[in-house]
Amino acid sequence: MRNFIFSFLALILLPAYMSGQVIKGKVLDKNGIGIPGAMIFATDSKTSADTDFDGNFNINAKEGEMLKISMVGFDALSVSATSSPMSIIMKESKDTELKEVVVIGYGTRKKSDNTGSISQLSASDITKSKVLNATQAIQGKAAGVQVIGTDTPGSSPSLIIRGIGTFGADRTPLYVVDGIPTKNITNINSNDIASFDVLKDASSLAIYGNQAANGVVIITTKKGKGDKVTVEYDGFNGVRTPLKTVKMAGSNHFAYYSDVAEQNTRFSTNQKYNTNWFDEITRLGTYSSNNLSLSGASEKINYLFSLNYYDEKGILNGLDYNRFTFRNNNDYKLSDKLKITQTLSASVSKSSPKPLSAFTSAYKQSPLVPVKYPNGRWGMPIIGADGQAATSGALFNNVGNPVAQLEYFNEEQKNLLLQGSLGLEYKIFEALKFTSRVGLEYNTWKKFAYTPSRNLWLAADPTRDAANYSSSDPINELVTARSDYFNWNFDNFLTYNKKFADIHDVELTVGMSAQEFGSKEELDVKGRNVPENSNYWSLNQSSALSNNVVTNHKIGNRKNLIGYFARFQYTLMEKYLFTGTIRRDGSSQFSSDNKWGNFPSFGLGWVVSKEDFLKDSKAINFLKLRGGWGRLGNQNVPINQQTFSSGSGYAYDFGGSLYSGTTIGSFIDPTLGWEITEETSAGLDFKTIENKLSGSLDWYNKKTTNVILNVTPALTVGTGATPAHAGEITNKGYEVALRWDDNINENLKYWVGANYSNNKNEVSNVYNPLAIKQTGGGIGNGQYTKQLAEGQPIGSFYLFEVAGYDANGNFTYYDKDGLITSAPAETDRKFFGSSLPTYYYGVNLGFEYKNIDFSVDTYGVGGNKVYNGKKAQRFGNENIEAGIATDFWTSTNTTAANPAPFNNVPISSNYYLESGAFFRVNNITLGYTIPKLSSSATSLRIYASAINPFISQKFSGYSPELNNDGDPMGMQGIELDAYLTLSSFIIGANIKF
C-alpha cells in the first residue's frame, strides 16, 4: 500500500525527472521514529547517502529515479525519488535475528552472521545491579564468564573467561572501552554503558592477537539520540550489612579454652569484659549514587553529557570511598562521507583505606580484652595475677587492638583517570570505509599516609607515659606518594563490505594498531612531626625538616606493542558463514629474537534454519551451528632483559656513610616469548516455540602450551624467582544458556533465563624442573596451602589429611601409605581440590505487569574449595569460634568435632578446608513506573532492590566468595584479611525529562 502511494506520487512528479537535484527525506519506523544509519542508494545516479540520527537524508538524485533503501533489521524497499521531502516508512523484518548486532573487534556484526561466541549484555543488565564496577553486574548472567566478586569499596572483581590459562602472566581480560584498550574499568560509570560484549572464543579473539588470551570485553558507551534534548536522573540510597557473620567465643569460654591449652589456670573463667571485636570495628555501611545525563542529537551532531557521584561508607570503621565521573560523547557528521567521533571521560576517586587485616585481628583478639580500660587507655592482651584483663604484665598473644589499629591507620588516596578518544570515519567509496582512532589515557595517583607513632607507642603498653617517649623518635610520620602514567593507542583500519550477486556478502577488514603503555613514575617522600589535622598533611609543615627523605623514585619501564591484522568475513546466501583472521604482533617486552608472533583463526557457521527443509518449520524458528579455531597470545610479563638490582635495599655503611650496592636479584631467561593459547570450539544457537525459547550451547577445548610461571631457582642458587616457560594448562568446558520470553497478555510479560558453565582446568604438563612443586597460599605463619602439580587444577590445595585424635586429643594424620601418624612428613601431603569452581550458574527471571516490573537474579558456584585461613593462622592464645569453644576433645568427649585446645602453629590440613559451593540471590528488584508524571517529565520509575539478600553456603566462615589477590596460586579462595560479602537494600528513582 505504502509502495503504491509512493509510486503514485512519483508519477505525478514525473516532469522533474530531467536533471539531478538534492532529494530530501526521512526514513521512519512504524512508530514514526526516525531510523538512523539507513542506506539510500540511487540506482541511476550511482550516489548514496546514510540517514542521520533522526532518519533524515539528502541525496543527489533525479526525481523519479528508484531509491533503494536498506537497513539492518528492516525489509529493504525501493521507492521513486520525489522533489518534495520524502517520508519513507520501513517495515521491521520478521526475522528478529537481523536486528541483533554484536560488537566484534574493529567492527560490528549481525548476530546471525557471526561465527564466534560472544555474550552480550545490555545497559539494563548492568545498571540494575547498582555496582561501582560493571564487571560485577554480569555475574551469573553470561555463560562461560565467571565473576569473582568483592565488596571492598573501590575494588575490582576478577573476571575469568572460559577458565584460567596462565599462572605467572597477567590473568585479567582486555577491556576495550570505545576503542581504548585498558585493564580496569573501575573508572567507568556503569550508567554510561550501552553494551557490554564478552568475546569468548579464539576465533573472535584472535583479532586482538597477543592481548587476547584472557578474553576481551568490548564496552560501548552511550550516545545521544532522538530529536530532542533528554535529561535523565537516576539515583539511589542504600544500606549494607554483612551477609553472614561468624559467632566467636565469649570471654569465659576463651579463658577456659586457653587454660586447657596452656594446662594452667592463668585466665579466670569469670571475666570482667566480654568484647565483641567484630561489632567494635564495623558499622552500618551506606552507599548512594546520583547520576545525571543530558543527551540529544541534531542533524550534524549528537551529544551526551553525564555526571555521576558514587559515595560509599564501608562496613569497616573509617573505610570510605567516593568517585565522581564525567563523560562527554559527541559525534560530528562533517559531510556525507566524514564522521568524527569523540569521547572524554574523567574519573576522580578519593578513598580512605583501612587495613583489612583488622577483620583478622578482630577474629583473633581475645574477648576478655576491653577496647579501652576505664582510664581511657587502649586495651591490650595483658592478663593480671587475678586472671582478669590488666593494664600491666606480659602480653598473652601477639594480636593488636583492632579498634586502635583502625583508629591509627590514617590514609587518604586520590586518583584521577582521564580517558579520551578521537575517531574519524571516512567513506572512500560506497563499500570502503576508513577508520582512524586515537585513544589517550592519563592517570595520576596520590597517597597521604599518616602514622601517629607516639600514640601507637602509648597504645602498645597501657603503662607508658608520653613524657617518657624518646625525643629521637617521631611523634608522627607522614608518607606522601604519587605516581602517574600516560598511555596511548592508535588504530587505523579499512573495512570493505559488498554484496555480490545478492548472495555473496563479503566484508574485509585490514588495519594496524599501535599502543604504548607509558612509564609509570613513582615518588615517595617521608617526613615526621606534621600537624595532626589532615588539612596540614604536607612535609613543609613538618617541625623536623631534616628528616624529610625521598624513599622511592622510580620510572617504570615503558611498553610498546604493535599489531597488523586482517579479517575476511563471508556469508553465502545468509546460510553459510566463514570468518578468517590473522594478526601479527610485536611487543617490546621480549628480546629481539622473540618480539614477533602470528595469531591466525577461523570460524565457520551454518544457519540450518534457512535451508529449505527447515525454512517453514514451526518447531524450529532459528538454528545455527558454528565452530572455530584460533591461536592467541599473552604478552603481559615483566620486561625480558637482564637488569641489575641496586639502591637503598642493597646499601651498607662504611665509615659512617651509606653506600649503594649492586647485584643481580634474579636471572632472566633470554628465550622467553609469549604464552600461546589454542582453542577449538563449537556451538549452536536456536530459537523454538514461536521464538519464545532461545538458547545456545557451547563446547570448547583450550590449551596454553608454554605457560609462563615465576620459577624460583634452587635455594642454593640464591637468586629470586624469574619468569620462565613452565608447562601446559588446559581448560575444557561447555556452556548452556536458555531463555524463555512470553507475553501472557498485553499487560503481562515475563521471562526466565538460565545459564550453566562447566570448566575443567588442569595443569596438563609441567616441563620446567624448577616449576615442579611450586607452592603458594602462605597464610603468614610459615604454613603454605597450595602446590602446583601435573594433573591437578591450578590453585590446588595440598594439605595433610586428618585421621583422628591421639590420646591427648591432638590431630593424627594419614601418611602417604594410609597409616596414621602424629608427625607427618612433607611427602604425606595430598591434593584436595582447587579454589577454582568446576561449574557456575545463574538463573534470572522477571515480569512486567502494567507499570510494575520485577526481577530476580541468582548465582551459584560449585566444585571449589576454600581454606579458613583466619582460623588456621594461630600462634597462641587467639580467640576461637563459639562452636570450637563448646565442642573440643576432652578425655570424656573423644569424638568432638575439634581437637583438644592447642597453642602452637597448626600445620596445614584439611581440617581448615571447606566446600566453597554457594548459591546466592544476587538481586531482587521491584519497580513502578509512572508514565506521564507531568507535562515536562516523560517518565518516573521508582524502584527498590535487595542485593545479596540470601545465600546458601557450606563454608563456616564469612564468605566463600574470596577473590583476595585474584591469584589462584596465591590467596584466592583463602579467607584471611578478607572483606566480607555484603547484603544491601536500596531504594531509588529514575526520572526522564
Binding site: D473, Q641, Y650, Y652, D653, S657, L658, E826
Partner: protein, 490 residues
C-alpha cells in the same frame, strides 16, 4: 580533508614499515640498569665497589642475621630460652629451644637460604669485577679479597649449621647440567672446610690491615679479620698449629678496658673489634632487620618482642664479681645504663643486653633497623683461641691470654691447672665472654659437651643427629635425590 589525511597516512605508513615498527618495539628500560650497560655505568671505582657493598648489605637481612639466626645459634643452646609469651611460638622458635626442629622449620630454611643469597652476591661480584677494566686494579684485587672473606664467613656458618652443603663457587648457568649438579649436590664437611680455607688464604693475600684502610672504608674486611676467621675455622677442625699461626699474625688489636661498652654504640670499631656487621641508624636507616626489637623486653615498660632470653643457668654460672653478667643480661626490675627503668612486670625475667639499643643515649631511628652492630670477631676471642690451642696442643702460653680476658672482666687470674682443668676454665671463659654472640651452640657441639649441657638444660641431645640441623625440605625436594637429608631427620 587532505589536511587530516596527510599526517594520518604518513604515520600509518611509518608504523607499517618494518624497520620502523621494529624500532618502535625496541624500548630502552628505565626501571633498572640493564646488564648491557654494565660498562657504561659501572666501569669505575665506585661501580666496582658497589658489587661488593651489596654482599655486605645481605648480612643486614632479617633471614640472615636476625630472628632465625638467633633461633639456630642461640635459643638451641643452654644460654638462651625462646622467651616471649608461652603462647607465642615465634613461628618455630619453640622448636629451636626444644631441639625439635624439622626440615620444614622456618629458621632452618631462612639461615640456609640467606647464606646462599649472600654467596650468590659474592659470585656475581666475582663475575663482573674482572670486566670492569677502568676500575683501579689494586682496588679490584682488594674487593675480590673482601668478597672471598665474606663467602668464607657464610660457608663457615653453613657448615657449622648443616655440615656438608653444596659448594657454589660461581654463578650457575641455568642451562648447564654441571652447574645444576653443583647447586644440588652436597659436598662433605671436609670439602666445605677446604673451600673456606682457600677463600681465606686468598683473602689474606689480597686484604690490607685495618690501618691500611682510609677512614671512609672503616668496616671493610681486613687482613686481620681473615686471619681471625681462619684461626676459628682451624679451631673447629682442631688444627691447633693452624690456630697458633693465624692468631700470631693478628696485630694491632687489644682489649678495651670496659667490657660493658663493647656492644654499645660507643664501642663500635674499637681497638678490640676485628669484624662487625654494621647497622646504620641514619636516614634512611639501614640496620640489621628486627635484631633489636625481636630481643627487646616484652610487656609492661618493654620495647620488643622478648625472644632469645638468657637462661637462669647462664645467669647463675658467672663467678662472683664477673662484670660480664650485668653487661650481658637485662634483669626485670633493673635500671639500665642509660637510665631506662625495666618494670618487674615484663614478660620474662631476663633479656639479652647485647641486642639493646638506647633510644635516648644512642643513635636511634626506629626499632626495626637501628644502629646496632653485631660483633662477629673480636680480639678477646683471639686470646681465647690462643689459650685453647696452647692447652690442647700442650705447647704455648695458656694462662697468659686467658687471664687477660679474665682480668678485664674484673676477675682474678685463673686458679685452674692441668690440661683438663684449664680446658674447663677456657670453656667457661668462652661461655661468659662470648655469651649471646652466636657461638655457644656451636662451641657445645664442637667440644662434645652438647649432650651433657642439654641434659642439664632439660633437653635431649641425640648424638649422631643433633650435631647438625636438618637441610631445608625445600632444598631436599629441589635436589630430587642429588642430596640426602642429614641423619636422623626423616
Amino acid at each position: 580533508m587532505k589536511k587530516i589525511f596527510i599526517p594520518i597516512t604518513l604515520v600509518t605508513i611509518a608504523l607499517f614499515s618494518n624497520s620502523c615498527s621494529n624500532d618502535y618495539i625496541d624500548v630502552a628500560p628505565t626501571e633498572s640498569i640493564t646488564e648491557a650497560d654494565l660498562l657504561t655505568v659501572y666501569n669505575n671505582n665506585d661501580g666496582a665497589k658497589s658489587f661488593v657493598t651489596a654482599i655486605y648489605s645481605k648480612s643486614l637481612d632479617w633471614n640472615m642475621s636476625s630472628f632465625s639466626w638467633n633461633g639456630l645459634s642461640s635459643m638451641t643452646s643452654d644460654d638462651a630460652d625462646k622467651g616471649s609469651d608461652p603462647g607465642d611460638s615465634g613461628a618455630d622458635k619453640d622448636k629451636c629451644d626444644a631441639l625439635t626442629l624439622d626440615a620444614t622449620s622456618l629458621s632452618v630454611q631462612d639461615v640456609f637460604e640467606a647464606n646462599y643469597q649472600g654467596i650468590s652476591r659474592v659470585n656475581i661480584a666475582l663475575l663482573y669485577l674482572p670486566k670492569l677494566d677502568k676500575a683501579d686494579a689494586a682496588l679490584k684485587t682488594r674487593l675480590v679479597g673482601e668478597a672471598k672473606f665474606l663467602r668464607a664467613l657464610m660457608y663457615f656458618n653453613l657448615v657449622r649449621c648443616y655440615g656438608g652443603v653444596p659448594i657454589v663457587d660461581h654463578v650457575p648457568v641455568p642451562s648447564s647440567a654441571a652447574d645444576t649438579d653443583m647447586t644440588l649436590t652436597k659436598k662433605t664437611k671436609e670439602e666445605v672446610y677446604a673451600f673456606i680455607q682457600t677463600d681465606l688464604l686468598a683473602a689474606i693475600d689480597a686484604l690490607p690491615e685495618k690501618s691500611g684502610y682510609a677512614v671512609s672504608d672503616l668496616g671493610r674486611a681486613t687482613k686481620g679479620a681473615a686471619h681471625a676467621l681462619l684461626a676459628k675455622v682451624y679451631l673447629y677442625q682442631k688444627n691447633w698449629q693452624g690456630v697458633k699461626d693465624q692468631t700470631a699474625a693478628i696485630t694491632g688489636y687489644n682489649l678495651v678496658p670496659n667490657y660493658a661498652t663493647i656492644w654499645r654504640e660507643a664501642g663500635e670499631d674499637s681497638v678490640e673489634s676485628i669484624f662487625e656487621i654494621r647497622g646504620y641508624g641514619g636516614n634512611p636507616s639501614q640496620g640489621i632487620e628486627g635484631y633489636m626489637v625481636s630481643q627487646g623486653a616484652r610487656g609492661t615498660s618493654g620495647w620488643g618482642w622478648g625472644f632469645n632470653t638468657p637462661t637462669a643457668g647462664l645467669a647463675n654460672s658467672y663467678e662472683v664479681g664477673d662484670l660480664r653478667r650485668d653487661a650481658t643480661i637485662v634483669f626485670a626490675g633493673e635500671t639500665m645504663w642509660d637510665g631506662r627503668i625495666v618494670s618487674p612486670l615484663v614478660a620474662n625475667p631476663r633479656y639479652n643486653e647485647k641486642a639493646y639499643v638506647s633510644n635516648t643515649a644512642e643513635t636511634f631511628n626506629g626499632d626495626w633497623e637501628t644502629t646496632k652492630n653485631i660483633r662477629v670477631l673480636r680480639y678477646a676471642e683471639v686470646l681465647l683461641m690462643q689459650a685453647e690451642a696452647a692447652n690442647e696442643s700442650g705447647t704455648g702460653d695458656v694462662t697468659g691470654p686467658l687471664n687477660k680476658v679474665r682480668n678485664r672482666a674484673g676477675l682474678a687470674n685463673t686458679t685452674a691447672t692441668g690440661q683438663v682443668g684449664l680446658r674447663d676454665a677456657i670453656r667457661a671463659e668462652r661461655r661468659h665472654e662470648l655469651a649471646f654472640e652466636h657461638d655457644r651452640w656451636f662451641d657445645l657441639v664442637r667440644s662434645g659437651q652438647a649432650k651433657a649441657a642439654m641434659a642439664a638444660d632439660g633437653k635431649t641431645f641425640v648424638e649422631g643427629k643433633h650435631e647438625v640441623f636438618p637441610l631445608p625440605q625445600k632444598f631436599i625436594t629441589q635436589a630430587d635425590g642429588k642430596s640426602i637429608q642429614n641423619p636422623g631427620y626423616n
